[in-house]
């Protein structure tokens, strides 16, 4: 089920709680059709098995799909113990990155179905950290949740203090894509929402604002807050016209991974946009900096005919949950609606390198 929706539409409708739930629902229902091929070195049957067709939740993880995939291939496998991993065009896939993020990052031009190869042997332990199935994925999820909690609240207490059964249920709700259960349980972590006047909910029963690492000004409004963000930056050296012209990725060294909180700033009457957020992480790629207040004292021009424009790096594409984002969208809306269940906002970015 491929979804594309007008983000602008949803933002314009000054949301009630119900509207917000719609965007989150779309995110949770988002899925990528996969066509999974058994690696030819592991085909021990003749004829070789056809590929498995699986619908992978965007907010899920590849190892969680193994129980759906394995039945297709179990009769074809050579004897021995399984150590399962996936690759896309030869690139081993990092299993702890949500499936949707992998797709947005590795397929500049979205490939549907997405053709992946599954291996049951020969785990590349020199490049991939080990994965022992669901337990490893769950551990990674809870760890990310703790890190997000620390960023938002200044401590991990709320996650640590969750009862074992609540933690289990929360994880299960994510595994099953059960948004209702997740919505019931997630307030226990008290992560709150970023609010500014550009994302204020009409309803009085809106979730509590963020505490802890957040500064509140005199009027009780959020002034600054730290937002958990994971930024995946893929850079190309040459410009391109179509996304299908973007070269394939051979190694993960071509991606710069930034696991770094964004400092959300609320200024009176000024909207903190997605552009502002990305600029704080990638200052070299945002244009029109001279249009901002002259305090910075930097020598950049915005003259369209300026030659230096070509030598500067350029932000070509920003994708979140499969949506190509317009940078003027209020960052608070993006975070509150498009983050993953562990409270991280994953942003895939394609940039053209500056010419040096």
């Amino acid at each position: 089920m491929i979804f594309v929706f007008q983000v602008g539409e949803l933002v314009r409708r000054k949301g009630s709680v119900g509207e917000k739930r719609m965007a989150v629902k779309y995110v949770w229902e988002g899925a990528i059709p996969l066509q999974i091929h058994l690696h030819k070195s592991e085909v021990a049957s003749h004829p070789p098995p056809p590929p498995a067709l699986v619908l992978a939740p965007r907010i899920g993880y590849l190892p969680l799909l193994v129980h759906l995939i394995k039945p297709y291939f179990k009769d074809s496998l050579p004897p021995g113990e399984d150590s399962i991993w996936f690759d896309y065009k030869g690139l081993p896939l990092k299993w702890y990155i949500p499936t949707g993020v992998l797709f947005d990052l590795l397929c500049a031009e979205p490939e549907r179905p997405w053709n992946l190869t599954i291996h049951f042997r020969g785990y590349p332990s020199n490049v991939l950290i080990p994965c022992e199935g669901e337990d490893s994925v769950k551990w990674n999820f809870v760890n990310s949740l703790k890190e997000a909690a620390y960023i938002i609240n200044g401590n991990c207490k709320n996650v640590m203090n969750m009862s074992q059964s609540d933690q289990e249920d929360l994880w299960t709700s994510v595994m099953n894509g059960d948004l209702d259960t997740y919505t019931r349980l997630s307030p226990k972590i008290k992560m709150g929402n970023i609010e500014d006047e550009f994302s204020r909910k009409a309803s009085v029963s809106s979730p509590q604002s963020r505490q802890g690492g957040t500064e509140i000004d005199v009027a009780g409004q959020v002034k600054t807050a730290r937002v958990p963000v994971r930024l995946y930056v893929r850079s190309v050296s040459k410009d391109f016209e179509n996304l299908e012209d973007v070269p394939e990725m051979d190694t993960w060294d071509e991606i710069s991974y930034l696991n770094r909180p964004v400092q959300f700033l609320r200024k009176e009457g000024k909207c903190f946009t997605l552009r502002d957020a990305i600029e704080s992480l990638l200052p070299e790629y945002i244009r029109d900096r001279a249009q901002r207040s002259g305090e910075e004292g930097e020598q950049r021009t915005t003259d369209a005919s300026d030659v230096s424009q070509e030598t500067r790096g350029e932000l070509k594409l920003v994708r979140i949950q499969g949506i190509e984002m317009k940078l003027e969208i209020p960052f608070s809306w993006v975070v509150n609606n498009l983050m993953n269940p562990e409270f991280y906002l994953h942003i895939s970015v394609l940039v053209k390198e500056p010419q040096r």
């Binding site: 990092k94 490049v127 993960w252 710069s256 696991n259 770094r260 909180p261 992480l281 070299e284």
Partner: protein, 223 residues
């Protein structure tokens, strides 16, 4: 950033502070810890989107010798059992070779965590042929005191995670509550309970963390 704009606040440190502290740490180490090679500052300037001042500290190819005698003994026992009919000289030849093969090399990286605003220690071990060592083997190289600490403690443990910059599995030391014990260190070490000065932040941090992996720092560094 911190509310007071301080570089070290509440046991935590800013990115800018980490860069300063790292340089200070590397300098002091070079001056006072002559039994070890110096730490290198690895800047992240090749990744064009990061500011020039970012980087991490690296100390590589440290040979851990503590396991050599132990394994040599084990090997010789095995060797004797296998080669019971052969002469002594053959056993010795095989023994010497095994000792060389048993040298363990370690790389240590001190990396800043923007999420927790504290440093993290990443490390990995490998044998002379470059093959990575498993955590079980590494634990045998650690001082016995830290092994029991690891097993019993809730606050520090080692996990295998991906290195934040190198796309390879490394081991990470997780001292939970780093900022709390750094605060305690600073309170106890100064009369007016002031913050640790940024130049001493990593020295203090390493004085605790380093011990877990068997790296001690001389007292002169703490001044």
């Amino acid at each position: 950033m911190d509310s007071a704009g301080e570089v070290v606040n509440d046991g935590k440190i800013t990115l800018e502070g980490f860069t300063v502290a790292a340089r200070a740490f590397a300098d002091k180490w070079k001056r006072h810890n002559l039994s070890f090679p110096p730490w290198s500052w690895i800047p992240l300037i090749n990744r064009t989107m990061l500011k020039k001042e970012e980087g991490y500290l690296s100390l590589e190819k440290i040979i851990i010798l503590s396991s050599l005698e132990e394994s040599a003994e084990e090997e010789s026992l095995d060797v004797t059992a296998d080669w019971s009919e052969k002469e002594e000289s053959v056993d010795l030849t095989v023994l010497v070779q095994n000792v060389e093969d048993e040298a363990h090399y370690y790389d240590y990286h001190i990396v800043y965590s923007a999420s927790y605003m504290v440093p993290m220690l990443y490390f990995r071990g490998y044998s002379s042929d470059g093959k990575p060592l498993s955590l079980d083997v590494i634990k045998r190289d650690l001082p016995s005191s830290s092994v029991s600490l690891l097993l019993e403690s809730k606050w520090t443990f080692i996990t295998q995670e991906e290195h934040p910059y190198l796309n390879r599995p490394w081991f990470k030391l997780h001292p939970c509550g780093t900022e709390e014990w750094i605060k305690l260190l600073s309170e106890s070490s100064s009369s007016d309970g002031c913050q640790i000065p940024v130049e001493l932040y990593l020295v203090s941090w390493f004085s605790v963390v380093g011990q877990v992996v068997g790296l001690k720092i001389p007292r002169e560094m703490l001044i």
